[in-house]
Amino acid sequence: MTTANEVVNGSAAPAKVSYASDQEVRWCPGCGDYSILKQVETILKEQGKPKEEIVFISGIGCSSRFPYYLDTYGMHSIHGRAPAIVSGLRTVRPDLSVWMITGDGDSLSIGGNHLIHLLRRNVDVNVLLFNNEIYGLTKGQYSPTSPEGAVTRSTPMGSVDHPFNPLALCKGADATFIARAMDRDPKQLREVLTKADAHRGTSLIEIYQNCNVFNDGAFEVFTEKATKPFHTLFVEHDQPLVYANGTKGIKLDGMTPVIVDLTPGEALPDDLWIHDQHDPFKASILVRLFDDQDHEDAMPRPFGVFFISSRATLETKLNAQVALAKEKKGVGDLDALLSGERTWTIA
């Protein structure tokens, strides 16, 4: 980027400086957003990347206020359009570290199309999808991830919309990095964030986030001590799918996943499903473990990194074409462009 380079004068920031901005955080007390903000700030600190080389782009929603709270570059844009803004920004600035903050309404309702196109184009950005299964900022209407039957301000008789399975949708859009985390498990969240940041391409992280004002407890079964072990499945690359404190595992019967009982301590049956984060077919099934947790013998909900594949990013390919064009035709000569191919002269 000609000028940016001229005027930019970055240099490594002193480690462990604070990445918080001077703005007071304005989320409701108890909102899950606080935890996510904290985890992000923590890993930024750990990495110690210069603040000026980091950009946060968000849409509109409670979650999208996020950029104001970090002392990096940031844009709080318009509802649903962050992916498009990110695409333009990265195309001209492949040198930056770009993060996108969005909500379930912002990215899956009004912004759904931009999100799937961002994923297929594989623009290099870390997408943090704050899923609270509700519209927070507009005070409690259901969202595309709210369960069917959800009684909200816009659905007094219960929602009639079948909700999206966000990760299945993203997989269908050929995402190259898919993961799930939650506000209430800071450690796992930081791990996932770190892996996401390491991935070159669009890293999509769905983060379950509690909206304690309009949808309190939506993810309780996954976050509460008592129920967490039996409803969550933390997947690790190359490791078998085991949960419930080692008392249960998952194997595949043909293409259908089934639950098997395990005896802790004993050797694991060797037909257990071994998680392979590079297997696109397995990933297509893994995202389908999406049972309603109220049903008994429901499959647990997977967390962690589901899938990683490497595919050249949009900006890499586009800038390669620019370089190639310059190489082939020579760096553009404005006068040649102005005169075009055929001219005539009046003397």
Partner: protein
């Protein structure tokens, strides 16, 4: 090659209008643009008007399928493709039927007789096999019926091409013939063919053969006793090229980015008639141009906003329906106060309307089509060449004043071509981006992203600039800091500061001056956009006939220059011709409280200078 020539009488013509018409599949646009090129290279002034249907290939032979290309070339300066044509070249019956009205009385018709068989006549709507070529209905014209199809096939008899491919060369036969008719050498057309078919020797050979056949036909056939000649135009000294409006916009944007030392990012979603800007720009990646075909118009403008935020020049273009989708994002760019160029190549509306036809009905949308108080400078190009200048100006203003700028063009000048005495890069106005000053090391003072300079312009702090991190967005901001603020008085203050910044833009553009005619008198014809050529031609004629008429053309439409009121007051009457119901008129009346009248044409077709003249003469009558 040297073209054979028998002596035939040669008559000189001052200027000529030829309309080539045929099926969408007949290669009419190519024939027309090629002959335009040849004449331009020869030194004529040229002005063209391609006119085609919305369907890609409407059914062969039908009225709906007719595609036309009108060329005006002359030994004098020209401002329009011509009101009526001297020569009408038609490849079939439908082409004749749908264009006969534009042929001057006594004009010449060159018809491909093969396109007048029973089927074609019926498709064109000539009932119970009446045939215009033979039934005498064309008595007032000179008709040359030639079986172009057969002659082309004969010319290509010894090639290995199939019938279909042979017939595709029909347009070259026509081109060859026309070249002969106007005493032009085939050299340029052959050069063009060599380039186009460099990898397809067979087709190259065939097309050259057909071209030559057409030429020789004119030369040898006894029916043609006279050729015509149009001498070079006494145009200002200099080097010229021919350019369409869409090319002009593409080149203008690249030039501006280059002069400002920025990369150009163009985010766009295809739409007629704006797509060619995307096509043109995508060919110029070696200028650091990055084109992004977005998933829709909203993503297109938002990607451009992202690019500008990143320190590039972001630009986007569309036509009415697509611009309608960009309104919300324009509001964001307006609040962010970053450079952005938004081009609207207008077409017939409303809604999908008439996609391939021209109109000027998006002016209100450009000036008023956003929520809240969001004034954005609006420029309008008046001709194909002016598209370059206005695109350059739009970019310059966007960058130097940190604001989105809207540029209006329309289908007529977007596809139309004219000769252009192009500038040298070094002579283009310099453009300086108002980048924020880099932080002195250890300077801990808080950076104020909305601290304005004397023009009300804020500093452009681009990600990567150390110490200048800041957050911006579409919510109302506190003056200076840019932090979110719901304070009532701050809101009103910011609304006024943003409006004042935009108002200041007009102090940075050329003062108004009348284009032609008298600078005070009975009537001022006030125009904007593509009506320029027709008005200018009409006013020249009227003045020549002793009328006190002046022509003022607005290229910077919003905000108005302050001297506009003064100029308007120098005339007894003001007439505003527009291809809409009177959108500029409404703005002028509101601002200056004068009873400006409108001359309005909403037919998807440009004004002829005759129509302007008629409207103006009518008004002059009223004055006296």
């Amino acid at each position: 090659m040297e073209t054979p020539t028998r002596t035939k009488t040669v008559e000189e013509r001052r200027n000529v209008v030829i309309l080539f018409a045929g099926d969408s599949g007949d290669g009419i646009q190519l024939t027309g643009s090629q002959f335009t090129d040849t004449n331009a290279l020869f030194g004529n002034d040229v002005s063209t008007f391609p006119n085609f249907p919305a369907e890609i290939r409407a059914p062969q032979g039908t009225m709906a399928g007719v595609s036309g290309y009108q060329l005006h070339f002359g030994s004098v300066e020209l401002f329009t493709p011509g009101d009526q044509c001297d020569v009408l070249v038609v490849m079939n019956s439908a082409a004749l039927r749908s264009n006969l009205a534009t042929l001057k009385p006594g004009g010449t018709i060159i018809a491909n007789s093969d396109g007048f068989d029973a089927k074609n006549l019926r498709l064109a709507g000539y009932i119970d096999n009446q045939d215009p070529l033979t039934d005498g209905s064309l008595a007032n014209y000179t008709v040359h019926a030639i079986d172009i199809t057969k002659m082309t096939r004969n010319a290509l008899a010894d090639t290995t091409l199939g019938m279909k491919e042979k017939d595709r060369s029909k347009n070259m036969f026509v081109l060859g013939f026309i070249n002969w008719m106007y005493s032009r050498s085939l050299a340029n057309s052959e050069k063009f063919l060599e380039g186009k078919f460099s990898r397809k020797p067979e087709l190259l050979d065939a097309n050259k053969k057909a071209l030559l056949a057409g030429y020789n036909y004119g030369d040898t056939s006894e029916t043609f006793t006279t050729r015509f000649e149009v001498k070079p135009a006494p145009m200002p000294k200099g080097t010229y090229r021919s350019i369409t409006g869409n090319q002009g916009i593409a080149i203008g944007l690249i030039a501006a980015a280059q002069k400002a030392g920025l990369d150009l990012f163009y985010g766009s979603y295809p739409i007629t008639p704006a797509s060619d800007i995307l096509h043109e720009l995508s060919k110029n990646k070696n200028f650091g141009v990055k084109t992004f075909q977005a998933e829709d118009e909203i993503a297109a403008i938002c990607s451009a906003i992202g690019a500008s935020y990143g320190g590039a020049l972001g630009a986007t273009a569309s036509s009415g329906p697509g611009i309608a989708l960009k309104g919300e994002a324009m509001g964001l760019a307006f609040m962010l106060e970053i450079p952005l160029v938004i081009v609207n190549v207008q077409r017939g509306g409303p809604s999908t309307g008439l996609p391939t036809k021209t109109e000027q009905a998006d002016l209100w949308q450009a000036i008023h089509g956003r929520n809240g108080e969001a004034p954005i400078p609006v420029l309008a190009a008046s001709s194909p060449t002016d598209c370059f200048e206005m695109a350059y100006e739009a970019a310059r203003i966007a960058i130097e004043h940190m604001t989105p700028v809207i540029l209006l063009s329309d289908g007529y000048i977007a596809n139309g071509a004219e000769s252009w005495r192009f500038p040298e890069a070094k002579d283009l106005k310099p453009i300086k981006a108002p980048f924020a000053k880099p932080r002195a090391h250890g300077d801990m003072e808080k950076f104020l992203p909305y601290l304005r300079d004397e023009n009300g312009v804020r500093p452009w702090a681009v990600p990567g600039m150390k110490g200048l991190q800041h957050r911006i967005g579409g919510i109302e901001k506190e003056d200076g800091t840019g932090n979110i603020s719901y304070d009532p008085l701050n809101h009103e203050k910011m609304v006024r500061l943003r409006a004042e910044k935009v108002r200041r833009v007009v102090e940075d553009v050329p003062p108004l001056d009348i284009s032609n005619g008298v600078d005070r008198g009975d009537l001022l014809i006030l125009g904007w956009g593509s009506t320029y050529g027709a008005i200018r031609t009409a006013v020249n004629e009227m003045c020549a006939e002793g009328n006190c008429v002046g022509h003022l053309h607005l290229r910077y439409l919003f905000p108005f220059r302050k001297e506009l009121g003064e100029i308007l007051s120098h005339y007894k009457r003001v007439l505003i011709p527009e291809m809409n119901s009177g959108q500029l008129r409404q703005l002028i009346r509101a601002e200056f409280l004068i009873d400006a009248q409108g001359l309005n044409k909403i037919q998807g077709m440009p004004f002829t200078s005759a129509e302007i003249k008629a409207g103006a003469m009518q008004m002059l009558k009223d004055v006296k």
